[in-house]
């Protein structure tokens, strides 16, 4: 009893593990169980059991419940799907005026709304695309094709690349100075010279629609959540799920509602980009000190003035960090949205990957990454820039950048005009370098891949075979061998030990949702892949982070590296691994490890650097060595922060595992990918996405609860 009192948690964990393993050993694998015969295989087999709930028939292979729970939520994806179709095709038919046919047409309300949104998005994208690349569709929208035929001068000319490049350089100079300006110039020249101008501008056009709209909606909802507890409470679960839901999963239901193309991509990007904007707006507004609010009220501000003149300007930095996040999400979605027909670099990258043309994929990937880094740096510079409200500047000082830009537009236009004479018989390179006329190193990279394969084929094959047969397959078998009752007992028990009954109930709810869905086996495979990635990432991240946190220079260096890597859209990580390991599970797992190591490293460095210097001094005064100080002082203090890194690592790993479905895994991601090409896949895609989000939320709940308790214990909270 005394021991139990002295080490209560140890005994609880021991008990839980004993129960878990006892259940694992006591429950045999049913004779008829085969992974391939998962409950989600929608085939008609006379041996399947069936039940009907809410009018939906669910077919499944019944096992001993202790082994696998029946898919009692199997009706949910069918129901969601049917509801979506009902909403789109049958609910509330109304008469709407059709401009084209000049008559009233009966259409269901939701269909009309989605089509109106679609049309507005398409118009906005086309408008920006035509400003950047030229065209006639926008003018036609207000006139007609006949009018354009009669007045060809009205067709919008595209902005020459020289003007856009000059504009980017001037803007970067204004925001951050020479360094960023030079980088912007190099990026623009690279894009143009490598013939990626058109797809880059296509991508940019859809980001220029999605990002501002996400900002407006995110800011509005963030302000509403700040003003009303009810709104915040209503948004909170949605935000949590959206933060952990793989972006792939959002594609499917959105595709059902809005169809495919750039407009649907914008809407999906908004759905994914709004949550971080809301969270950062809320964070910024909450951080405004009560004194500032009081001062505003004392000055006689009404609510609107208080919000627009006091709160938002004070929270400006956090809100602009939100803008930065929105832009980053937009870029990561640029590739994923290509799955539903978004044009641009993402589409080219996807096409190249599909053809296994690694060289082309690398060029497109580099381009996306460089633009993403540029926009990231620009938005961060904007966030950190302080307005000089009191400077007594002359007209030229105040407007010099605008004047320079006007000059650049003029010179660029003259250049482009001169180019039309200079390159009379060929392309006007001063206006736009076409894709097939730009420099391309694709062949060089492809030959490089061939060389790698020729030279290291045996080594890579041996490693690949070893990893798959000796590590991955046994680990996968181990996960699939866990009976449902053992897994659920373990998760719920862990919730109880870490956070008490409340945490146990939350984790029970989340895990039961997955267990009762038709995809428990696939969820286990997803978890196994993520676990492998997380273990490897945490080992690398904690080691590298700890080593780099030892001095200021390495800290700065590694954080900069993390910044750059974090800016790359997740899909880009697949390119080098496919170069090295081909289309195998190893590729996915290595991409997972690389991608998920970033937060593990960053949080380790930040955690260790946040240890107060006074504690270092106290340690040194007590005569501890550097290693003793690290182990006995720095690690315990930094551990809660490092655990938040582990939490992020799990989310990143899950995201990458799902994206890995593109290479060909057999987890939940594969089903999401399948749902994309399934006419009735909307409900499946959504529920699968929720399953992935819930896996992440289980870990999130456990880790955050533990971190909060630990911080309180250490007096850090």
């Amino acid at each position: 009893m005394e021991l139990l009192k002295k080490y209560p948690k140890l005994f609880q964990w021991l008990f839980l593990l004993i129960v878990f393993f006892a259940l694992c050993f006591a429950i045999d694998v049913p004779e008829t169980y085969k992974f391939i015969r998962g409950q989600a295989e929608f085939i008609k087999d006379p041996n399947q059991s069936t039940y009907t709930l809410f009018g939906k028939e669910v077919r499944y292979y019944a096992f001993d419940v202790l082994w696998r729970l029946p898919p009692l939520l199997g009706w949910l994806p069918i129901w969601v799907n049917d509801s979506l179709f009902f909403l789109l095709n049958e609910w509330m038919p109304m008469e709407f005026w059709n401009e084209d046919t000049q008559e009233y047409k009966t259409r269901p309300l939701v269909l009309q709304i989605t089509r109106t949104i679609t049309a507005s998005m398409t118009f906005l994208i086309e408008l920006i695309r035509e400003i950047l690349l030229g065209g006639a569709k926008t003018v036609v929208a207000f006139t007609s094709w006949d009018w354009i035929d009669k007045n060809p001068w009205a067709e919008l000319p595209g902005l020459p690349w020289t003007i856009v490049a000059a504009g980017a350089v001037i803007l970067c100079y204004k925001l951050s100075g020479k360094g960023l300006a030079i980088f912007a110039g190099l990026v623009m020249v690279y894009i143009s010279v490598f013939g990626q101008w058109k797809p880059s501008m296509q991508t940019l056009s859809f980001i220029l629609v999605a990002a501002p709209l996400s900002f407006i909606f995110g800011l509005t909802l963030g302000v509403m959540a700040y003003k009303s507890k009810r709104v915040e409470k209503a948004l909170y679960p949605l935000l949590l799920v959206m933060q952990t839901m793989p972006q792939y999963a959002v594609l499917v239901p959105a595709m059902v509602l809005f169809g495919i193309g750039d407009h649907a991509a914008v809407i999906i990007t908004m759905v994914v980009a709004i949550p971080p904007m809301i969270l950062l707006t809320l964070l910024g507004l909450r951080a405004v000190s009560p004194e500032v609010i009081e001062a505003g009220k004392m000055s006689g501000c009404n609510n609107w003035q208080l919000m627009t003149k006091v709160l938002i300007p004070t929270a400006r930095r956090d809100i602009l960090i939100g803008v930065n996040q929105v832009i980053m999400v937009c870029f990561s979605m640029a590739v994923i949205a290509a799955f539903i027909g978004a044009k641009g670099l993402g589409w080219n990258l996807l096409l190249a990957l599909n053809q296994l043309n690694i060289g082309l994929a690398l060029e497109a990937g580099l381009c996306i990454s460089m633009i993403a880094i540029l926009l990231d740096k620009m938005s961060l510079a904007w966030a950190n820039k302080q307005e000089d409200y009191f400077g007594n500047l002359t007209f030229f000082q105040r407007y010099k950048n605008t004047l320079f830009f006007a000059g650049a537009v003029l010179i660029g236009a003259i250049f482009a005009y001169a180019g039309s004479f200079l390159f009379k018989d060929s392309f006007n390179y001063f206006s736009e370098i076409p894709h097939n006329k730009g420099i391309s190193f694709a062949d060089f990279w492809n030959k490089g891949v061939d060389w790698i394969w020729d030279t290291f084929f045996q080594t890579l094959k041996i490693f690949n075979t070893w990893l798959i047969t000796e590590v991955l397959q046994p680990m996968r078998a181990l996960y699939l061998r866990m009976p449902a009752v053992a897994t659920i007992t373990l998760v719920v028990g862990a919730g109880y030990i870490i956070g008490g009954i409340r945490s146990a109930l939350v984790t029970a709810g989340l895990v039961l949702f997955i267990a009762l869905s038709p995809w428990w086996d696939r969820a286990l495979v997803t978890t196994y892949m993520a676990t492998f990635g997380v273990i490897a990432s945490c080992t690398i991240g904690l080691t590298v982070g700890t080593l780099c946190a030892q001095n200021k220079f390495t800290t700065k260096f590694i954080l900069a590296v993390c910044d750059i890597f974090q800016t790359f859209p997740s899909f880009v990580y697949l390119i080098p691994v496919m170069m090295l390991f081909g289309i195998t599970d190893t590729s996915v797992l290595i991409a997972v490890i690389v991608y998920a190591t970033i937060p593990a490293t960053r949080y380790t460095v930040e955690g260790l650097r946040s240890v107060p210097p006074a504690l270092h001094d106290a340690g040194s005064m007590s005569g501890v060595t550097k290693l003793q100080r690290l182990i006995n002082i720095e690690f315990p203090i930094a551990f809660p922060h490092m655990m938040l890194g582990v939490n992020q690592t799990i989310v990143f790993a899950l995201f990458m595992v799902i994206i890995g479905a593109f290479i060909g895994t057999e987890d939940l991601g594969q089903y999401i990918l399948k749902a994309l090409s399934d006419k009735a896949g909307g409900g499946k895609g959504l529920i699968l996405g929720i399953c992935v989000a819930f896996i992440a939320l289980i870990f999130d709940n456990l880790i955050r609860t533990w971190v909060d308790k630990r911080k309180k214990h250490l007096g850090l909270a």
Binding site: K5, L16, Y61, V65, T489, V492, I497
Partner: protein
């Protein structure tokens, strides 16, 4: 009263013991819930038996498809003839058991000699209700047939046409009845 007394006693227990007790209770509840669910939803022995039969059927089908893939594509005949690959007796039985499709060619051919069947077949939109292919162990012959049903001048009629299969057609993926001798 009794409840209060036990509740107070529980409350008086040290925190670690209470937490441990809570964990044990929670674990018990989870396992018990599963046990109860198992009564209503668990798959019984009957299902295991059925699934084993299904496994055997799949294994048999795979064996047959392996045999089919070993035979040449085109016409397969059980007797000596000028056209097609001659099947051995063993192969003949295996192909007969593996064949599920009665081709329209064979239906049309068989109908030629059965006027009434042809008539019902034609006026009801070439509708065939059922087809069958069976191996006759005694004669060591393969028999196939089909059932046509439909309205014939307001009267519902059903006719079964069957006969010996004189040739099969191997597509490389499956085998089909090619000619039925029903005369």
């Amino acid at each position: 009263m009794l409840q209060d007394r036990y509740l107070n006693k529980l409350k008086e227990l040290p925190e670690p013991v209470r937490q441990f007790g809570g964990l044990v209770t929670l674990t018990f509840i989870v396992i018990l819930s599963f046990a109860i669910l198992n009564i209503f939803w668990g798959g019984g022995d009957e299902l295991v038996r059925k699934m084993k039969l299904e496994e055997e059927r799949i294994a048999q089908e795979q064996k047959l498809s392996k045999l089919i893939s070993s035979l040449p594509s085109g016409i397969l005949v059980p007797h000596e003839g000028t056209e097609g690959h001659k099947l051995s007796e063993e192969q003949h039985e295996a192909v007969c058991n593996a064949t599920k499709i009665v081709s329209q060619r064979s239906v049309m051919g068989a109908n030629l000699t059965n006027f009434k069947a042809k008539h019902i077949y034609t006026i009801n939109g070439n509708d065939i209700k059922e087809t069958f292919v069976k191996w006759n162990k005694e004669n060591k012959k393969c028999f196939a047939g089909f059932v046509v049903t439909g309205s014939n001048v307001g009267v519902n009629e059903t006719i079964t046409v069957s006969g010996e299969v004189l040739s099969f057609f191997n597509t490389g993926i499956d085998t089909r009845v090619y000619f039925i001798k029903n005369f």
